[in-house]
Symmetry: C2
Subunit: 218 residues, 2 copies
């Protein structure tokens, strides 16, 4: 999950673009290409070439070569390292309903350095079951088990009305980062990292863009 050295003030915007670069570069590598220019990346990903070069400068030690560009292999390695995809971090999932099941079933997380070690649900029918190899425990066990497993990341996939309570229990168990998929605003201590996956917000932004597009062509 990245080591101390790399924790310079890299902007959220840059970090958010890195996974897209990584996917793109892997595609190029699979296609047999060896080098890539910032101009090419920018064009394909609809970004600004200077932005791409700056992003690369932040995470990469190797310099690009005029006329040639960057070594794809090097870039992939640097991004993987920066994002901490080499070493996996454990996480727990709370909520084994529809979305929770989908998240547990999504095998891709391990590639992103995340390993879901346990799931929790308060529904007795789900407790004891296993979601894609992840065992479901009773939510009552949450703080105790999280502490014992020494887990730092909690994923919340419960209804909005239960999210705050779950978040409190995660924090009580020692979790330091919360990935919140519930439609709820969580009140948390300042030394806990939170990322809200607010579907309503995303949809609102998409809808407004759509409305703009339709309006413009009228």
């Amino acid at each position: 999950m990245g080591n101390g050295k790399e924790i310079t003030n890299v902007s959220k915007a840059t970090i958010g673009r890195l996974p897209a670069y990584l996917r793109y570069l892997k595609d190029k590598e699979s296609a047999g290409e060896k080098t890539i220019s910032s101009t090419a990346i920018a064009e394909d990903l609809r970004l600004n070439a200077v932005q791409v070069r700056k992003d690369i400068a932040v995470i990469s030690s190797v310099a690009g070569k005029p006329k040639l560009g960057f070594e794809i292999r090097d870039l992939i390695e640097d991004i993987n390292k920066f994002l901490g995809y080499d070493n996996v971090t454990d996480a727990v999932l709370v909520g084994a309903g529809g979305l929770g099941r989908a998240l547990a079933g999504y095998g891709g997380f391990k590639n992103y350095g995340l390993n879901i070690v346990a799931a929790f649900d308060k529904n007795p029918e789900l407790v004891g079951k296993s979601l894609n190899g992840v065992q479901v425990f009773d939510t009552k066990e949450l703080p105790k088990l999280v502490r014992r497993l020494n887990v730092l990341i909690g994923i919340i996939a419960v209804p909005g009305s239960e999210a705050q309570e779950v978040a409190d229990e995660l924090v009580a168990g020692g979790v330091r980062a919360i990935w919140n998929f519930a439609p709820a605003h969580l009140i948390l201590p300042p030394d806990i990292a939170v990322k809200n996956e607010d579907m309503a917000a995303s949809l609102a932004i998409l809808s407004k863009r759509l409305a703009e597009i339709l309006y413009e062509e009228k």
Copy 2:
């Protein structure tokens, strides 16, 4: 989905905060409160009070009253109207696997002005089935059916390798906005609205914040 009148240049940042305001205000209303100040909203939602007032100014016609604040009822009505939650827009879902099923099963979308009218999958075993009342069709039927249903929004929940193809078919069917949950960068005409739900990007940002927090307290 908002009407022409409201399509001024409201920033994406503001639009993204509106759903959070709405949830918060509904909570307050349920708790029996009648008015709310921007200072109170800002404190509870960990925002800046000026920002809250500016956001409100953009979407609301009614003015706040010094010493009192804003009428909660009015604000809720204005945000609902601005976000177009009153009138529902149809959408199709492509991919009836784990995530697709979770999205189809998520009843909340209707509250957000989105109505999933059909799902598609290329897996014959899923075709003909129904996900929470949403019928699954063969992906082959996609362009034809999308056009016939006159659907403007497509939700992509297929593996990354299939996302571009699906996007092309959605566009061919007349879709004008794409909500992309697949880990893939889509190449699309400029007059198509896209919102990428990039889980890897979200996780990267959360992980870096966690790393920072852990680093600081060392």
